[in-house]
Amino acid sequence: MKNLTSQTWKQVINLSLLGGLITVLIALIGMVEAFAPRFIISGLISMGQVFLLLPIFIFCFLNLRKIGTARKLEQFMVGAVTGLIGGAVVLFVLVVGQLVNLRSVFINASPVLYQIITFKVPFPTGYIVPLAVFLLIGLIATGIYILPTRWRSAVIQSLGVVLLLGLMRDLLVAVITRWGPLTVLLKWMFAFSGMSLIGAIVVFIVMVGLAYWRSTRPIAQKKTTFTRRDKIIRYSGLGAIALMILLLPQILGIFFSEVLDTVGIYILMGLGLNIVVGFAGLLDLGYVAFYAIGAYVMGVLTSTGLGFFHLTFWEALPFALIGSVLAGVILGLPVLKVRGDYLAIVTLGFGEIVRILALSDWLRPWLGGTQGIQSIAQPKIGPITLDNQADLYYLILAGILIAYFIATRLKDSHLGRSWMALREDEDVAQAMGINTMSTKLMAFATGAFFSGLAGAIFAAKLTSAYPHSFNFLVSINVLSLIIIGGMGSIPGVLVGSLVMVGVPELLREFAEFRLLAYGAVLVAMMLIRPEGILPEARRRLELHEEEPIEELAENDTAQAEVGD
């Protein structure tokens, strides 16, 4: 095996410096301090510390991956260097912070932060602490990195699970307490804040075992012929999942149902925008407009507050849908000739126009201006009014099922192919006899239909509609969830919504740093996995053709390492 060259060391040092800078940045914007009281493992590791140490951990991995195969000693050296450099950068800030008052610029550079960084060891001994801690992290990271591939991913996954459980302790405890007997059973797992040490250790060990067991199983899923037994397993699995989805609000309680509702509304919108952007390749940044139109039509037609009409939810729904579809066509007509970036700008403008109209004095008698519309009708089925989160969940679920069905059918059809062709090369698509106008309009209209449905349900859920619910960020959120899930992939929309909408809803305390995390996730995704979490098979081929080969190579090295 070759020795590491000075060139490689240079790269390692550069990356480590970057890691250190990111650590400092995270500390100085206040994330470390804000989450210091929040324990992941009670009394031992706080979320703040995780934020402080995670970047170096990750950069250690990046460095180790960069140097490729090397001797164990060298790998540990790289890990140590990464940790030490990261620690040195932090130490530098610490020293400067002691000499100069950084707070005039960095509000969060407070003594409390320094205490966290030095782990409450007083100065001057405290100066050594970050170096030592980061060195330790570097070594631990290397230790995990050099594990055989299976163990490595098992350990990382389990660490992730522990982190997640600790983070969501409050929510989980709230859910568990709904189920009497379970409370006793699981009480040992959680402490007053975060997980208990024993809980964390047990969960970690169990998860490592599970993950390892799963990875050792032969890959049997890729069978092409199914025996009867496979089918039974498959269908009972699907049945269990379906039952699970049906019972979710009952199991999880009100707060989670609320989150699920929000996620569901975004899934509906995502499924629609996925047709416009993912299938037909028309970048629409004003998608919120149709959502707003769906909501406002529902509002105007049913609101007893406004008192123009007194339709019920179900009577008004068709009008809301027709309204959105018409708006889709109206937007579509003038922008048919506009392509790519320009289309994005035009649609962006359209979205803003709709919001500003809703906000305007001119339409205030109709739409309520800033005050919005109140007392919008709630949907009724027979004698039951769907007025709580759990009931609305089923309404949204029904909407999603319909949208999902339509989207899957359209994707694999004559029309779906035309959209795809349009996305690939508009001129050629037209030269193949595709009427680009009607095909584009169809995409806009279908997308608007789903968005209008989401808007109508949203209005009925809140029983009100305000202009500020329909700002530009909604469009961006929907677009990001599609990109994160995998452009053009229908299951990707579900995953994307859960990740981009569900997780932030659950981690409310991150609110302050939400956009930061959003941006970071987007950038990271685009760099590491541009095709999204659950990409369409086709896109994966587009972007990662060499993947299987790479995987094989990785397995080989893993085996070689075992052989050592």
Partner: protein
């Protein structure tokens, strides 16, 4: 100029300008039914622009083009395709990230009727139509020597196969007239020979009229029944291959560009100084 039954396409004084540049100037062209005809000319002579006028991608400033006696100038490309003209491109323009079969199915678009509701509810007619279309595309692929490659992404095909797929895709719309823009560009001699055979088969077995732009003289002279020569957007000669080979204006148009300065000095105003 009247349309007779033996001409499938008649262009009459077609002119296309881009600002001050006249890309195609008063071009008259007749394409015989079930013939193989070529348009040749130096680079920038306006051949592809003329194609674009025929297919409706450009609307000529003046002149008219008739397909089977029907005026098609000013129609959009998709309308023209539906009326029976299909084309390939100089630089291959497949739907790269769609499979081979999907490319053909898109080409079949003008013949598929199922709409939004058919696609969603999958009624019997839609299903039958889809099944027939897939069947038909597989048949077409076999005809073009692309059998068994239907599920590959178009961009993963080798170069020659991509050219053939592009022709197959344009055939899928069952055109009366097929416009081929440099079908043998970038091919080696044996691939070129195969393509020439293929073009003849298209005409002989499928009865498609073929109009092609080509640079390789071996192909042009070997395959064409009539040749039209464009230079600076204007037609400078028309006739049988032998006539064109001997035509002094044509020789000058070609050699005046490609060869030494000596000839340039002697050449008349119509020659390009570069």
């Amino acid at each position: 100029m009247t349309t007779t039954d033996e001409n499938i396409l008649v262009a009459n004084k077609v002119t296309k300008r881009f600002g001050g540049l006249v890309a195609v100037r008063d071009v008259d062209l007749e394409v015989k039914r079930e013939g193989i005809q070529s348009i040749i000319g130096p680079n920038g002579a306006g051949k592809t622009t003329f194609f674009n006028c025929v297919t409706g991608y450009y609307t000529p400033e003046s002149g008219d083009i008739r397909l089977d006696g029907r005026l098609i100038t000013g129609l959009s490309t998709d309308r023209v395709t539906r009326l029976g003209i299909s084309r390939t491109y100089q630089n291959i323009r497949l739907f790269k990230n769609m499979t081979v079969v999907e490319n053909i199915l898109v080409g079949m678009h003008p013949h598929l009727r199922s709409g939004l509701f058919g696609s969603i509810f999958r009624d019997k007619r839609t299903n039958m139509e889809e099944a027939a279309a897939v069947e038909e595309s597989l048949r077409l692929l076999r005809f073009m020597g692309l059998g068994g490659q239907g599920d590959m992404l178009a961009k993963n095909l080798p170069y020659g196969a991509q050219r053939r797929l592009e022709i197959a895709r344009s055939l899928a719309s069952k055109p009366k007239l097929l416009l081929l823009d440099e079908p043998t560009a970038g091919m080696n001699p044996s691939e070129t020979a195969d393509t020439m055979r293929l073009i003849r088969r298209l005409r002989d077995e499928l009865g498609v009229t073929i109009l092609l732009i080509e640079h390789q003289m071996r192909v042009v002279m070997g395959i064409s029944e009539k040749i039209t020569v464009l230079d600076y957007g204007a037609m400078i000669a028309e006739g049988l291959p032998e006539e064109i080979q001997r035509n002094p204006t044509v020789v000058e148009a070609y050699l005046g560009r490609g060869s030494a300065e000596g000839i340039l000095g002697k050449s008349q105003t119509s020659s390009e100084p570069a």
